[in-house]
Amino acid sequence: MAAIVGQAILVVALLLALYAVVAALLAAYRHQPRWAVSARNALRLIFPLLTVAAGIVVWALVTYHYELAYVHEVSERSMPTYLRATALWGGQAGSLLFWSWLMSIFAAVLTFRDWSRDREMLPWVVLVTAGTLAFFLFLNTVLESPFRRFWLLPNGDIEAYVLPPAGAQLFIPKDGRGLNPLLRHPGMVAHPPFLYLGFVGFVIPYAFAMAALIVGRLDARWIRLTRRWAVVSWLFLYLGLILGSRWAYDVLGWGGYWGWDPVEISAFMPWLTGTAFLHSVMIQERRNMLKHWNILLIILTYDLVIFGTFLTRSGVLSSVHSFAQSAIGPAFFIFITATFLGSMVLLAWRWNDLRGQEQIASAWSREALFLYTNLVFLSMVAVNFWGVVYPIVSELATGQKATVGPPYYERVMGPLSALMLFLMGVATVAPWGKVDTRRLARLVLKPALVGLVLPAWAWWQGYRKPGALLGFALIGFVMAVILYDIARGVWARRQAHGDPWWRALARLLTRNRRRYGGYIVHLSIAIMGIGIIGIEYFQLETQRTLAAGDAISLGGYTMVYDSVAIFNTNDGRQVARATVRVLDDQGQVVATLHPRQDYYIREQQPMTIPGVLSTWGAEFYVLLVSWKPITVEGATFKVFYNPLVKWLWAAPWIAIAGTLLAAWPEGRRRRVRARAGAKTEAPAPASA
């Protein structure tokens, strides 16, 4: 019964979304505001409907309704309740519903804002949002319903249908097949929601961009309205990527964090274009330039978001993530092609109107550097896209499928990342408009020299590969530029107001939140770079079989094997848990680790969980590979020494702080003051 209700709700939601599209068109073409209100209300209603539909799926998961094919596919009785509930996004049909539900929240929030200043854009924003929702709801109702149930047919077959076939009886399996054990991890519970929130959030700026194009309101209004959406979506997408890496590091037992897998890349690409977008729009707000870029970047972000959802869900490409083949592939292909071409036609139609009066006056001005930044980000996207589609392209071109692996990406992305760090540092100090190149060189030279502290430290620590040292030098430069800017601001405030340094710092950061929020995010990216260079260039690994009391040494640590305990748990696992002691170079015991292997008996699948000693210098990462089952005398270990990688895991916390600072709503009074101040404030740092 509940399944029928759920399916009916999905159908109603789909019809509402389609109605909103039609009503929005009527509102726009007949200039009748009441149609716009009606379209808006329809869009608003989808959220409560989908909340009930998603609620039914969660309820069915939690209360063991295995007659539902989806529940049977992704859960089983022995899974803890929180894992059963969150299995809503453990499979294809549920993920799509979850995607639509998140989208409907954003859409509903959108309908409650004050539209009085943007009345003409309303129908088009509703149209794009409702159209996107309608597409996902179509997939959910017609191609991939989470409400299909098992039916025992008269001929004895069991098939899954939404509605009972003639003469069929409901078939209720006693238990489900259970979620893939590898996905039963807090990181994997949190990873999809974050990623999807990031994905879904970028639909809103896209909707406004299309509305602006269509109605011809080509100033920076659409950017101002959606800036906060874009910033917050960016953060979610970023955290989603990080959570995915962390899961891979903790669960997949390979000592790495990023494998250039097509599915990882498909989430990385919209993040790249989204990042470029966040930067590029500032130039439009300040200088009324790069307007074509901003529209292009948000179109790309939107379609890469859809493409990302498609890649994870279609199986076109071989990857660890690739799920089953399904009918949704062609639907995605048509939708992406149609929206991309449609948007590009709109952009081409408004091309001349988007042309500004302003010209880039100097090759080293801030606006020029932002333009290069756009180019580098787009190059990164092109490089990744090329890598992902290369198997398809090579097969079409030569009849022979060929692939490119991590070495390709590392070789191309390495130099591009270095270039990006360089631009990041220079753009922070570069002035707008006309640039005195010699003065800029002086501004750059000082922090560049200070930044050499970092490679010097790395050299002293024994990290001496040329590529790594160059990377450290660039990271040091970026950090020095930002820290110097903040320090100078604090110093100036202390001089002017006599504040203690901490109050001066707090005032400085909150007075110009966008600027300092952005700097803090830059700092976090630089810190992340330290971790990436550490593990990419200097990871060590070894493996050996040890008898009790034997030791392995790696990276200054020594690991002594003590014992293995084997026991069963009540959630269907057989666990082999080793105890090892880790000694530092002085011979002191610094940690006792428990690397283990969980064997999921019913699924017949082992899962390897590392024991990790984490310090700011390095992580000592131990995997239990195998053990002698009867005597429990010997065990085989694989050990990784991952220098500096903890900085990679720490950096996102700083990015969260920076993003919140940048996106935090400013009080009204403050806003007025900021607007008045913007005219007189010197945009580039004054001469030192």
């Binding site: 094919a69 049977h72 596919e73 499979g91 098992f150 025992l152 004895g156 077959d157 069991i158 098939e159 899954a160 078939f171 399996p173 097949r177 893939n180 590898l182 199986g315 071989s318 660890v320 690739s322 089953a324 083949q325 010209q359 880039i360 006056a361 090759a363 020029a368 333009l371 290069y372 180019l375 580098v376 190059s379 092109a382 490089v383 090329w386 290369y390 090579s394 022979q400 499928k401 060929a402 692939t403 490119v404 692996g405 070495p407 390709y408 070789r411 191309v412 591009l416 270039l419 079989t545 017949q604 699948q605 390897t608 590979v625 195998s626 053990w627 002698k628 010997g634 085989t636 694989k638």
Partner: protein, 158 residues
Amino acid sequence: MENRKYLIGGALILVAVVYLVITSTRANAQYFLTVDELLARQAEMTGRKVRISGAVVGETIQYDADNLELRFVIAHVPGDLDEVEAAGGLAKVLADAVNDPTRSRLEVVYYGPKPDLLRNEAQAILTGTLGEDGVFYADELLLKCPTRYEAAEPQAGQ
């Protein structure tokens, strides 16, 4: 024209990127072959880094934990997705491959921990080189178990 300055800058970046992409693709592209294709072009492919895919034959899996030496045999599966679909989906194709003794097979050696997903009828995607001895030396092992993800209907009486 002032514009020329930054246009040159932009063009330089683009040229550099295109150069990097082309050389890196050339240096790192690996043929993605089925077992049949690899064996048909054995002379040409021996010693070259390639990627192959096949179905793991469960009973052949041997693991020497002391030396971390993993040996197993893979059976040929078609590489074309349409062909796989026509034959009844990946899970069925993999099972058929393992149970059909006439399929061409290939012995694989890999040094490292035994992957969690290695089991009978898993799809193995291997990167490595075919040795003179006809054994495939894998550097990298990617495994997929389609039955874990595909919506297989339960059997009556389950």
